[in-house]
Amino acid sequence: MGLEAVLQKDGFLTTTIDAIVAWSRKSSVWPMPMGISCCAIEMIAAADPKYDIARFGSEVMRFSPRQSDLMIVAGTVTYKMAQVVRRIYDQMPEPKWVIAMGACTSSGGMYRSYSVVQGIDQFLPVDVYTAGCPPRPENLLNALMTIQDKIGKTKARDFQNRSLAELEHSQN
């Protein structure tokens, strides 16, 4: 159901602020593609003509963390890289969400070795985990839709009453 269907009726609609804010937030999630290794290729594939992530309003892949609100961590995160991932996450403005794409980011995957972090949830809050090595692009789109559901349930004031210290911390 698009907006047009409603607009054609009587020329006005009644809703709550929360609903309209959440609706507009969820229909244009701008991802920050944190492509680290193999999964990044499938992430690009999700943006290509066959799978076309633009259908979900997320084709604007921003490589600048300041302009995005969803971080897709795609690939094996090593201890050396973990510092960078966390730093980029901290630079993203609130509100922000994280998809852990693939077995590696979720749990370390097949790399049980000295240099690989066994799951990025050790240092990042993760919203959706995606299974597969690599997850097929359909699976990534599914994760995106799950995130959209999650965003749809948020209220505008959820992100307002944070203390100044918290905000400052998240912006450094």
Partner: protein, 416 residues
């Protein structure tokens, strides 16, 4: 606010602040500047980090920093059997996965003295050429995107998707295929897959012409690449550069011809070379290699014989699953191989294959047990990256992007 007040209260800091303000414009221009690029940068193809020293906009020095994707392959290989390592080879150069699979099993076969049946070898050739096309598609697309032609990446990924769906049919996975086995391949190719490959090749040729038209009629594209990042022949050899980058500098060296593996000696193909050695030559080189791959594929499809796809060598080679489930002896052998490995004789071998990025080599040391004592991966991207510091010296900042795009490193392989 408090901090500013603090600074004003502190005399030393205040003095320093005033000194800083005394800088004139000339001073600023004379200073050299150090800039960090990556590891999260769209043009570094993954997680390469470069530290640039700039004088104005000219690069004075450049230091690549690797290791952001170091996953410890070589250590893990020492703790698993030869068969278990096959899936890990997919993730080395994740744009051209089948070539890695083929290279690794060939190295183990050389060490253990196994030979795969002829049909299996032909299938390996077919999949590695398809994989090479897919890898070059990514290379060309992202390279063009780096210098500003964003349409290209859509077009090349459209072609790549076709290869992925062929692999989906052959191996059951889009690009992490793990398709080869020691002594053969996992499953035979059916007729529909052959038909799909033929159709793909028929569609690819006009698509390549279109791509060339789009890019080469674009003045910006040409001017950003021509004469940029010239790598002379002697330097390329001294720096250990291999693959398309070496051939674009005018050295006619291709492992498929120099030391033929599989049945490349039965196939008729050319080794394209260019003498300029600049970024544009490296772009042309990849396009020409795709055309050669198409030729090789047509010949393979004609010549492929009928027969088995896995060697009959029960002590060393896993049998087909249906036999394992129905025959006692096969079950025992399967159990032994999975648990204790294939126990190659004591010794060490090195085998290299021609990968889309260059020469991929595996050096395996065996002490007679089921796990390799040491497995060293000689990765082409690693060697190619070594040329970066020489190529970028004296170039502009925007050329750095073009040079890295033209060298086409894949960090999964360079960092291991």
């Amino acid at each position: 606010m408090d901090r500013i007040q603090q600074i004003y209260n502190d005399e030393k800091l205040l003095k320093k602040l005033q000194e800083d303000q005394n800088l004139t414009i000339e001073d600023v221009l004379e200073n050299e500047m150090v800039i960090n690029m990556g590891p999260q940068h769209p043009a570094t193809h993954g997680v390469l980090r470069l530290v640039l020293r700039l004088d104005g906009e000219t690069v004075v020095g450049i230091v690549p920093e690797l290791g952001y994707l170091h996953r410890g392959y070589e250590k893990m290989a020492e703790n698993m059997s030869h068969i278990e390592f096959i899936p890990h080879t997919d993730r080395l150069d994740y744009t051209g996965t089948m070539c890695n699979n083929v290279g690794y099993v060939l190295a183990v076969e050389k060490l253990a003295g196994i030979e795969a049946p002829k049909r299996a070898q032909y299938i390996r050739m077919i999949v590695s050429e398809l994989s090479r096309i897919a890898a070059h598609m990514v290379a060309i697309g992202t390279f063009a995107m780096d210098v500003g032609a964003v349409t290209m990446v859509m077009w090349t990924f459209r072609e790549r998707e076709k290869v992925n769906s062929i692999f989906d049919r052959i191996a059951g996975a889009r690009f992490t295929t793990s398709y080869t086995r020691i002594g053969g391949v996992a499953s035979d190719i059916d007729d529909q897959a052959f038909a799909e490959i033929k159709q793909f090749l028929a569609e690819l040729e006009p698509a390549l012409v279109e791509m060339d038209k789009l890019l080469l009629s674009n003045r910006i594209f040409i001017q950003r690449l021509e004469g940029i990042g010239i790598l002379p022949k002697e330097d390329a050899i001294a720096l250990g550069v291999t693959g398309p980058n070496l051939r674009a500098s005018g050295v006619e060296y291709d492992v498929r011809r120099a030391k033929p593996y599989l049945f490349y000696n039965e196939i008729d193909f050319k080794i394209p070379t260019f003498s300029q050695g600049d970024c544009l030559a490296r772009y042309f080189q990849r396009g020409d290699e795709v055309r050669e791959s198409i030729k090789i594929l047509y010949q393979c499809l004609d010549k492929i014989p009928q027969g088995e796809v896995i060697a009959n060598n029960p002590k060393k080679v896993l049998s087909h699953k249906t036999e394992i489930y129905s025959k006692m002896e096969e079950l025992i052998h399967d159990f032994m191989i999975i648990n204790f490995g294939i126990n190659p004789p004591i010794g060490d071998t090195y085998l290299s294959v021609e990968n889309p990025k260059g020469e991929l080599g595996f050096y395996i040391v065996s002490n007679g047990s089921g796990q390799p004592w040491k497995l060293k991966i000689h990765s082409p991207s690693f060697c190619n990256l070594q040329a970066v510091s020489q190529l970028c010296k004296g170039a502009m900042v925007s050329d750095v992007v073009a040079i890295i795009g033209s060298l086409d490193p894949v960090m999964g392989e360079a960092d291991k």
